[in-house]
């Protein structure tokens, strides 16, 4: 039997993907979940796995083609079944036609209506369009719990089942806009390997998409069971025991073994190493790949405007034309921060972690967000409500060679400097390798973008809409500053100074609040020991 396979939605709302490469050829035997193609969405390069065991019958697109989601892009001959010319959708409902009525030939034979005789438990109440949706998604309606009256199945229920979740209120979209600049290896004083930019993140739930990442995902638990020796090992490796992924449980709680700690720590090191290699090799991160050179005599060249670039553009437009932007500028003396980081850097390296300035800035931002919760809030236009969030997920705008992305560090308020550093290094690496999953690009509540890497002092970053604030940080430079000593004597000294550019949504935040928020960030950066209290 022939099974047609349609390109699944590889992230919430993704409409199409570009076929980068086929991983199989016609005639190849494949097993279920074996990757068959690499497809680039507007977020990431993903491998699409085979839905069945069988043989590849036909590849419907060529590498480089853009495939709309929902279009058949590969067909399989399903193992053990005769080939057929027509596809059979995956859903497998039973026809509900009962042969009632008397046998034809009997006098008075009449066609009576079908009488589907099933137990009530098997009876599914859903309208025809919802049934069609379920067939399109290959979902058995009897497996869905309806949210409609009396358990009636709605379109939203099917959508939720298709994306692997339950029906929720409007999921927060995650488009962002941030000033786009690339950021090379930091100078002695420059801060981070993260770079400014915009990214978009769309949720992708429940899809059978496997990102290329080989690194271990961080877990995010509040509580972990482990032997004391394991905890010591985690400490020595510089990893947070609560972030170590594990499938093991004891008494219903996650249980981490020494091997899991070593595996996680090694993955972290590899991720950071890869990041470092990229930077040391001087690869032009942040520069989109250029197209072909001009042919001799060619005055213009047209290229498709699509993929990540198009998505970024759309997000920029939505942000700029929805939220009235105001940008507040200031500069902060971070001499003490530079000294603190220098003291801590070698300690961190002993644990295999490259400590950048970004975790300090994140902690300062989180402290300020707690003081000014409107900066961590969003406007729900549809319901005319302001949604305040008591969680702090910080997006870090990152330049990649296909454009800008915003990996998200979840619950930054609950993580230490080293954990923030190691997780961020890992995410940035994955973003640059385009192996980052859609889930790692969504859910930020505030975004930080580093615009200082290439040059310039100040920026007017565009909000990672619908967030209410975005902070652009400039390069840390040595500058002459007027310093007043304890006696009140003024002198000019070389100090380490960083510029701050805070854009905020003026619908929600007034200029005074923006300035106060910036002042709080500055206070923590000027006096990094205050971070110990956070």
């Amino acid at each position: 039997m022939v099974r047609e396979f349609k390109l699944p939605d590889v992230g919430e709302g993704v409409a199409e993907g570009e076929l980068v490469s086929w991983l199989v050829a016609p005639g190849d035997e494949v097993s279920e979940d074996q990757p068959v193609a690499e497809v680039e969405t507007d977020k990431a390069l993903v491998e699409v796995p085979a839905p069945v065991n069988g043989a590849v019958r036909e590849l419907h697109y060529e590498e480089g083609d853009v495939i709309p989601v929902g279009e058949v892009f590969i067909t399989f001959d399903v193992a053990g079944e005769a080939a057929e010319a027509a596809a059979e959708p995956a859903a497998d409902e039973e026809a509900e036609v009962a042969d009632e009525g008397e046998p034809a030939g009997d006098p008075g034979a009449t066609g009576t209506e079908t009488g589907e005789v099933e137990t009530p438990d098997d009876r599914v109440f859903a309208p025809p369009r919802v049934r069609r949706m379920a067939r399109e998604e290959g979902i058995d309606l009897s497996t869905i719990e309806g949210s409609g009256p009396g358990g009636r199945i709605t379109a939203a229920d099917v959508e939720a089942a298709a994306s692997g979740g339950a029906v929720e209120a409007d999921a927060e979209t995650d488009e962002s806009g941030a000033a786009a600049t690339a950021e090379p290896e930091p100078t002695a004083d420059a801060s981070t390997a993260e770079s400014g930019g915009a990214a978009t993140g769309t949720a992708g739930g429940g899809q059978q998409i496997q990102a290329r990442s080989t690194s271990v995902e961080s877990a995010d638990r509040d509580r972990t069971l482990a032997a004391p020796a394991t905890r010591r090992l985690a400490e020595e490796e510089g990893v947070d025991i609560d972030a170590v992924p594990t499938d093991e449980e004891r008494d219903g709680e996650a249980f981490v073994t020494p091997d899991a700690v070593r595996e996680y720590a090694e993955a972290q090191r590899q991720a950071q190493e890869a990041d470092r290699e990229v930077i040391e090799a001087g690869e032009p991160v942040g520069e989109a790949e250029k197209g072909t050179e001009f042919a001799p005599g060619e005055r213009e060249r047209r290229e498709p405007f699509r993929g990540v670039r198009k998505t970024i553009a759309d997000a920029m437009v939505e942000s700029k034309y929805t939220a009235p932007h105001v940008t507040h500028h200031d500069e902060v003396d971070v001499t003490a921060l530079v000294e603190a980081r220098d003291r801590l850097k070698s300690r961190a390296e002993d644990q295999g972690i490259r400590l950048t300035y970004m975790p300090f800035i994140m902690k300062a931002v989180v402290a300020a967000l707690k003081e000014y919760p409107e900066m961590n809030a969003v406007i729900d236009d549809e319901n005319e409500e302001v949604v305040y969030r008591d969680y702090y997920n910080i997006g870090v705008a990152t330049a990649t060679d296909v454009g800008l992305m915003v990996p998200v560090l979840e619950d930054a308020d609950r993580k230490g400097l080293l954990q923030l550093s190691s997780e961020m290094n890992e995410l940035v690496t994955k973003a640059r390798e385009r192996s980052i999953s859609p889930g790692e690009l969504q859910g930020s509540t505030f975004t930080i973008t580093n615009v200082g890497g290439i040059g310039g002092e100040y920026a007017t970053p565009i909000l990672n809409y619908p967030e209410s604030g975005i902070l652009a940080i400039g390069e840390i430079k040595r500058k002459p500053r007027v310093v007043t000593d304890e006696d009140g004597t003024e002198s000019i000294e070389p100090r380490s100074v960083m510029t701050l550019s805070l854009s905020f949504d003026h619908r929600l935040i007034d200029g005074a609040v923006g300035a106060q928020f910036t002042n709080t960030v500055m206070e923590y950066l000027e006096n990094p020991e205050l971070l110990l209290l956070e």
Partner: protein
């Protein structure tokens, strides 16, 4: 390959242009498939040419005459004269308009039309024999085939439709004069509809039925008003008889009927089953004992398609036969033999061929009988719902309590709604009464949408209309009917 054949190719070969086949062809055309539709007789199939449409036209026309002649109560005194030949001409005009429309629609949707009889030659080839001497034949190669050959009236031993006084339903609808007397063999929906037509035209109608009541398969409470009305207009019934033979005695024909060998019953409508043989004199005899699939003209073996022991082609929920690239839709694909069921199957088959996620997954298949009064049903009866394990609630509303029904003079019958007690979902409905065939549609939609009786009861219905009766029945199910006593 036959010498002289011309071979053409097509994505989809549709055999039969009835409501299943032509819908399949049009839908396939809409989906950018190359479609060839083969029809040996007339576009529109039995439904448009010899079934649903002409019978409804004649039922309507005879009702006009009958009502005009029976409206003294309204102060109308008339003795309508019926010119059956003219009535049939009018009916033929309606049919022509519709069949012409089907042809135009097919062409407009890019369907290639071929006249002839299709037989399969192999897995992917068929031969189309053109009617008419010297017309020859042609071969056609297809990727997919949709068999939509429909059904034909069943013949019973001793009654050959080729004999002049013996009529099938098609011939009965084409008579140009009203017979003085008519024996109808079979009290199913076709027999009952046509018995009413001729009784209202003044024919003495006698119905013989093998079972013990009319309309096998329908609940007694639905049948009762129909049987009563049939008696009122002079139709005579003999239950428990089978027609054995007929002969011409010079002054008409005599139909002989014998008691049915087995005491067949249909669930207990208490009709006295006679034991004596019957001799019934009449001018014509109409045989309406059911229909059988037309699956023996196609050489299905050549393509490998199997049929059941009754000749129906077995299909799955996507109208697919045991051969992956061959589909079957409509009457030939099994009960219930209803035009709208065939049309739906035709759409599904076309969409499946085009790769769409279509399936036959209706929750309820409506059915209507154009007897007097009409019957409309959809979904489960009360007993079917209980058999299926539902705790049921039932709401009814009699048309005699409907203002609009009273104004039409048609107050026999009722609306009955069956629902699930725990959640209130509408599971089925049965209506007997004026416009039952139209009224049932609302309840079909209710079932498909998963509506509850409360939803139906809370939907404002126009006053004064018959449709209010549906709302009232739903209210009755909830125990708060306004215009009838709650049970």
């Amino acid at each position: 390959m036959v010498v002289g054949d011309v071979t053409t190719g097509t994505d989809v070969l549709v055999v039969g242009a009835g409501p299943a086949g032509y819908v399949a062809a049009i839908r396939a055309g809409q989906l950018d498939l190359d479609v060839t539709l083969v029809e040996k007789d007339a576009y529109g199939g039995t439904c448009l040419n010899h079934g649903c449409i002409p019978s409804k036209a004649l039922i309507t026309a005879t009702d006009v005459a009958h009502e005009a002649g029976n409206a003294e109560e309204m102060g109308i005194h008339a003795d309508p004269a019926v010119d059956l030949a003219k009535m049939v001409d009018w009916k033929d005009g309606v049919v022509d308009q519709l069949t012409g429309g089907v042809e135009k629609l097919c062409k407009a949707n890019g369907v290639n039309l071929l006249e002839g009889t299709a037989t399969f030659d192999g897995e992917n080839t068929a031969r189309i024999s053109h009617s008419g001497e010297g017309q020859g034949s042609e071969s056609i190669e297809f990727e997919h085939a949709i068999v939509a050959t429909g059904s034909r009236p069943i013949e019973i031993p001793g009654f050959d439709y080729g004999d002049e006084p013996v009529l099938d339903s098609k011939q009965a609808l084409a008579l140009d004069s009203v017979p003085d007397s008519l024996v109808v063999v079979g009290a199913g929906y076709i027999g009952m509809e046509l018995a009413s037509v001729f009784a209202k035209l003044g024919t003495d109608v006698t119905v013989i039925e093998m079972l013990d009541g009319i309309l096998p398969g329908y609940d007694d409470d639905l049948k009762r008003p129909v049987k009563q009305r049939a008696n009122d207009i002079g139709i005579e019934f003999h239950f428990g008889y089978t027609a054995s033979t007929w002969y011409d005695h010079g002054d008409g024909i005599r139909v002989e009927a014998e008691p049915a060998e087995q005491a067949a019953t249909d669930g207990g409508q208490a009709e006295a089953v006679e034991a004596e043989a019957l001799d019934l004199d009449a001018e014509k005899v109409l045989v309406a004992v059911g229909r059988e699939p037309v699956s023996d003209t196609l050489d299905l073996d050549a393509v490998g398609v199997e049929t059941d022991d009754r000749g129906f082609i077995e299909t799955d929920s996507r109208a697919r036969t045991n051969v992956d690239h061959v589909f079957a839709v409509g009457d030939v694909a099994g009960e219930p033999m209803l035009a709208h069921k065939g049309s739906m199957e035709g759409q599904v088959a076309a969409e499946v061929i085009a790769g769409e996620p279509a399936a036959i997954d209706y929750q309820a298949m409506p059915a209507a009988i154009f007897t007097d009064p009409e019957i409309g049903t959809v979904g489960m009866t009360e007993s079917e719902a209980e058999e299926a394990g539902f705790e049921t609630i039932v709401g009814t509303f009699p048309f005699r309590a409907s203002g609009r029904a009273l104004t039409t003079g048609e107050t026999d019958g009722f609306v009955k709604i069956v629902a699930d007690e725990s959640e209130g979902y509408v599971l089925g409905a049965q209506i007997v009464g004026p416009e039952a065939s139209e009224l049932i549609a609302e309840l079909g939609l209710a079932i498909e949408l998963g509506a509850t009786v409360e939803d139906v009861a809370s939907t404002v219905h126009t006053h004064p209309t018959l449709s209010e009766s549906v709302m009232e029945a739903a209210e009755n199910a909830l125990g708060h009917a306004i215009h009838t006593l709650n049970r």
